[in-house]
Amino acid sequence: MKSPLSLTVAIVVGIVILIGYFVPSPSLAAIRTPMLNWAMTLAGIASLVAIINLIFGVHWKRLRESGSKQFFSAVVILSFLVTLTAGIFFGPSDSNYQKVVTAIQVPIETSLMAVLAITLAYSSLRLLQRQHNWMGLLFFLSVILFLVINSGVMAFASDIPILQVLLSGFHNVPVAGARGILLGIALGSLATGIRILIGSDKPYSG
């Protein structure tokens, strides 16, 4: 153990926040609320540090090195400086500023979403080739089944009581499956939190 101080601070703060969640006492809230506000402020500062690191640590460094990616790094730095200057000059809530930023960002992200849709469709077709087991087959059949059910082809089922019950049963299957997965995730999250709380897992040095 290199620094018991940072570990002690982390454990004490973690315990105070946790107790404050379970015990709604005004005196605990008076300690807990400023701590959570500090955490939010620190997260904001961390984002700023990360952006500066991305621009000056990664792209600026790349500009000074020879390579094919110099042009892209120059575009990134230039775009960043223009956006930053305009943001400081007009303010981030300015409607014209927001319009220009979203007019650039939305089409780019939509194009990426389109690429993703095609990639996913292609991968789904290749799924059986990749997953040579019954789980792969089950996954593939489920995808087909739910695509058919949700496409509206089965709309006539609303007139047939047995089919309606069957379809409603099918609709509950993914919910039950997701619940099972989320239960495991919740227990895993609890375990991770407790490991940090008892100081055995330390994602920070100091």
Binding site: V23, S47, I51, N53, F72, L112, A191, D201, S205
Partner: protein, 251 residues
Amino acid sequence: MSGFEPLIGILLVISFSALVILFSLKRIRTKHPPVFRKIIAIQKLRRSIGLAVEDGTRIHVSLGSANLIDPSNTSALVGLSSLHRIGQLTSTSDLPPISTSGNGGLLILGQDVLSQISVETNTRELYDPQHAQMTGVTPFSYAVGTMEAMSDSGINANVFIGNFGPEAGLLCDASEGKQAFTLAASDSVTSQSIFYAMSDDTLIGEELFALPAYLAYHSTHQASLRVQDIFRVLVGIVLVTGSILKIFGLI
């Protein structure tokens, strides 16, 4: 929140912590050693780590874009533990692992973990803070930046572990394009389904939290895995009992 919920929560946290500490004790571990089922994806990761050391290639760990003040950050914290362990295992290589993320807090923690590894393994001269990067702020910019980072510097394996959205598909596709080994795990149901469809090796559900224990990290990881199993059985029993009681109209 009903009157009983805080009490149940406190009891759960205390009993979970007590069991984790109990199972971490050396006496218990030697008397009742943990037995893990085989997870092929993790075995392949271990092989990739060995290959990276032999070939002089690099492992890339992507931590997703979870916010540290959000409940979804636990998957990224598991990613950081895995990064630490992978860094220890590849310490004999000339190329330490690199880490990418979509959040400022994760960048700082990633740099800190890489720095810790270099101190622990006496490889301070190989440490470069730029080996941990925040590649983008929005999910898609993060994905594109990560794809670019993956195209650099001879990576032989990509480990995607953290909170991802649909952009996970682009990452898997890029990794496959580079013919690199891909291990994917997330706490998000959406990205788990995308990973399952697009990656050869996916960790589903709680398997994500088992990764550090399978890589033989701290004894508490193995202990918490055992406690998770115990609690899963208990929750299952409670759910089934509740359903039976509900059927008979007793609750």
